[in-house]
C-alpha cells in the first residue's frame, strides 16, 4: 500500500514538474510547481517524517503564492496575462537539466548506502528538534539573527523611502507623511 502511494506521488511529482514547462501561463506554471512540491511532501510523510512533510507543504505553498505574484508582476507581456512559452535557451537548459538528472540519479543508484542500524525513535519530531537544536543551538541562533539582518537590509536597500522622507529633513514631523497610511495612525 505504502509502495503504491509512494510510486503514485512520485509520478505526480514528476508529471507536475514537466507541466511547469509545458503550460503557457505563468499562473499554471507556478501552481504546477506547487503540486510537484506537495507530492514530494507526501513522499516525506510516507517516509515517516511527518514534521518535515507538513512543513514542506506550509513553506512551499506560501512561497509559491508569493512567487506567483512576483513572476506575474515582472513578466514582459502585460501582467503575464497573455499565453507565453515557459522555456528559454532551450538547448542550454535541456543539457543542464539532463546532466543534473544523470548525476543525481547515478549518485542515488551507485552510492553504497549504509544499512539501517537501530530503530527510529518513538517521537521523531522531538528527536529531530534535539538533533537540530541541541548541540547546534548557538549556530542556529547565529543563523537566525544573520537571516533577520539580511532581510532587514534587503528591505532597506529596496525601499526608496527612508525616515527622512517620512519625517522630513530634520525629522521634524510628528506624524510621518506616507503615500499609504497604516492602521495604527502613526
Amino acid at each position: 500500500m505504502e509502495l503504491v502511494l509512494a510510486v503514485a506521488f512520485g509520478i505526480v511529482a514528476v508529471a507536475a514538474a514537466v507541466a511547469v514547462f509545458v503550460v503557457d501561463s505563468m499562473a499554471r506554471a507556478t501552481y504546477a510547481l506547487l503540486v510537484s512540491f506537495l507530492a514530494v511532501a507526501a513522499e516525506l510523510v510516507l517516509l515517516g517524517s511527518a514534521y518535515l512533510g507538513v512543513l514542506t507543504v506550509l513553506m512551499m505553498t506560501v512561497e509559491m503564492a508569493v512567487m506567483g505574484v512576483f513572476m506575474i508582476m515582472y513578466m514582459m507581456n502585460p501582467a503575464g496575462l497573455m499565453p507565453m512559452s515557459m522555456v528559454h535557451n532551450k538547448r542550454g537548459a535541456l543539457s543542464i537539466a539532463i546532466g543534473t538528472f544523470v548525476v543525481l540519479g547515478a549518485g542515488a543508484l551507485l552510492v553504497p548506502w549504509p544499512s539501517r542500524t537501530g530503530e527510529p525513535p518513538a517521537e521523531l519530531t522531538r528527536a529531530l528538534g534535539f538533533s537540530l537544536m541541541g548541540e547546534h543551538m548557538l549556530a542556529m541562533i547565529v543563523i537566525g539573527v544573520a537571516l533577520l539582518a539580511t532581510m532587514i537590509s534587503a528591505v532597506l536597500l529596496a525601499t526608496d523611502r527612508g525616515r527622512y522622507d517620512r519625517y522630513g529633513d530634520e525629522l521634524e514631523r510628528d506624524t510621518p507623511r506616507d503615500p499609504v497610511a497604516g492602521g495604527v495612525g502613526r
Binding site: V54, L55, V62, T125
Partner: protein, 307 residues
C-alpha cells in the same frame, strides 16, 4: 503515541463540518436580518439552505477566457483544506486523524488558502476577482505570522505538537487564562483566513465582490461553503488549543467540545454584523506593529513559565 486515521470518522467528518458550517450560515442570516432592523421569523435559519438550492440549479455566468481549471481548483481547495484542518481537531477526546504534528498540520492546511484564494481571484479573468485575490495575499501576509506564533504558543504550553496532548495539558488551567493574547490573535486570524467580517475586504463590495465577483451558481456555492467550513474548523480548533478541549462536568466530552465550538463560532459570526471592515493595508500595519510584538511577548512569557 498512536498515530492513525479513524476511517469511519473520515467518512463522517465532511458532513459534520458541513452541518456546523450551515449552522454558522443560519446564524449569520438571522443576525443579518436583525442588524438590518427586519423581523427575524424562524424560517430565516433556512435561508442558507434555500440559497444553496438556488445556487445549485441556477445557470452559471461565464466570463471571457477564464482559466477554468485553476478557477475550480482554487474554489474546491477551500472546503477540502477545511476538512483536512478539521481532521486533527479532537472531537471530545479523539480526532479523526491523530498526528504527533497536528498543530503544524492545521497550519499547513491553512496556508493552502493562500493558493486557493489567489487562484479563485485569478481564474475568472476579471479585474475585480484579481484585486480580491491580491488583497487576500496581502491579508495573509499580515495574519499568518501572528497565527503561527499563536499556535506555537499553545503547543509550547503543552510541550507537544499533538493537538490531543495540547488539550490534555489544560486539565488544571485552560490556556485562555494564561495565554489570552494568543487566544485573541488566533481568533483574529480565524476571521482573517476566512475573509470574514472585519477582514472581508478580499471579497469587498468596493471591488464588486472581490474574489466572489464572477462566481455564480455551483462555483459560488462551493466557495461560500468552503468559507463557512473554515470558520467552523478554526472555531473547532480554538477549543482544544485554548478552551480545554472536551473538558467539562457531567456531559460527555464531545458534547462539551461541540458546545464550546458553537459558542466561539457564534462569536465569530456575531463580529461580522458588529464591526466595520478593516482595509487590508491598515490591517497590515496593525498586524505587524501591534499583533506580532504582542504575541512574541506572549510566547516569551509562556516559555519562561514552561522553563
Amino acid at each position: 503515541m498512536t498515530d492513525g486515521l479513524a476511517l469511519w470518522g473520515a467518512v463522517v467528518l465532511p458532513f459534520g463540518l458541513l452541518l456546523v458550517a450551515t449552522t454558522a450560515a443560519s446564524l449569520s442570516a438571522a443576525l443579518g436580518s436583525a442588524a438590518a432592523g427586519r423581523a427575524v421569523p424562524v424560517r430565516t435559519v433556512l435561508q442558507p439552505v434555500q440559497e444553496a438550492a438556488r445556487l445549485l440549479v441556477v445557470r452559471r455566468r461565464r466570463t471571457q477566457h477564464p482559466d477554468a481549471l485553476l478557477w475550480r481548483l482554487g474554489g474546491g481547495t477551500l472546503f477540502v483544506t477545511a476538512v483536512l484542518a478539521a481532521a486533527v481537531v479532537p472531537i471530545g477526546d479523539a480526532p479523526v486523524l491523530r498526528s504527533e504534528v497536528g498543530v503544524v498540520w492545521f497550519n499547513a492546511a491553512e496556508t493552502l488558502l493562500w493558493a486557493a484564494l489567489w487562484l479563485t481571484g485569478w481564474g475568472g479573468n476579471s479585474v475585480a476577482g484579481l484585486i480580491g485575490g491580491y488583497r487576500f495575499l496581502a491579508q495573509a501576509l499580515a495574519y499568518e505570522l501572528p497565527m503561527m506564533l499563536a499556535l506555537i504558543t499553545a503547543a509550547l504550553g503543552a510541550g507537544s505538537l499533538d493537538v490531543v496532548q495540547v488539550a490534555a495539558a489544560q486539565e488544571d488551567l485552560w490556556f485562555v487564562v494564561w495565554m489570552p493574547v494568543a487566544f485573541v490573535v488566533f481568533l483574529v486570524a480565524a476571521l482573517a483566513l476566512s475573509f470574514w467580517g472585519p477582514f472581508s475586504q478580499p471579497a469587498g463590495s468596493d471591488a464588486a465582490g472581490g474574489v466572489l465577483a464572477e462566481l455564480s451558481g455551483v462555483d459560488r456555492l462551493v466557495v461560500l461553503v468552503g468559507r463557512y467550513a473554515w470558520l467552523a474548523a478554526a472555531a473547532g480548533m480554538s477549543v482544544p488549543l485554548f478552551l480545554g478541549g472536551g473538558a467539562g462536568p457531567l456531559l460527555p466530552s464531545w458534547l462539551w467540545w461541540l458546545a464550546k465550538t458553537l459558542a466561539v463560532l457564534a462569536a465569530l459570526v456575531w463580529v461580522r454584523w458588529r464591526w466595520p471592515v478593516v482595509r487590508v493595508d491598515r490591517f497590515e500595519e496593525i498586524a505587524w506593529v501591534v499583533l506580532l510584538p504582542a504575541i512574541v511577548v506572549q510566547a516569551l512569557v509562556v516559555s519562561l513559565v514552561v522553563i
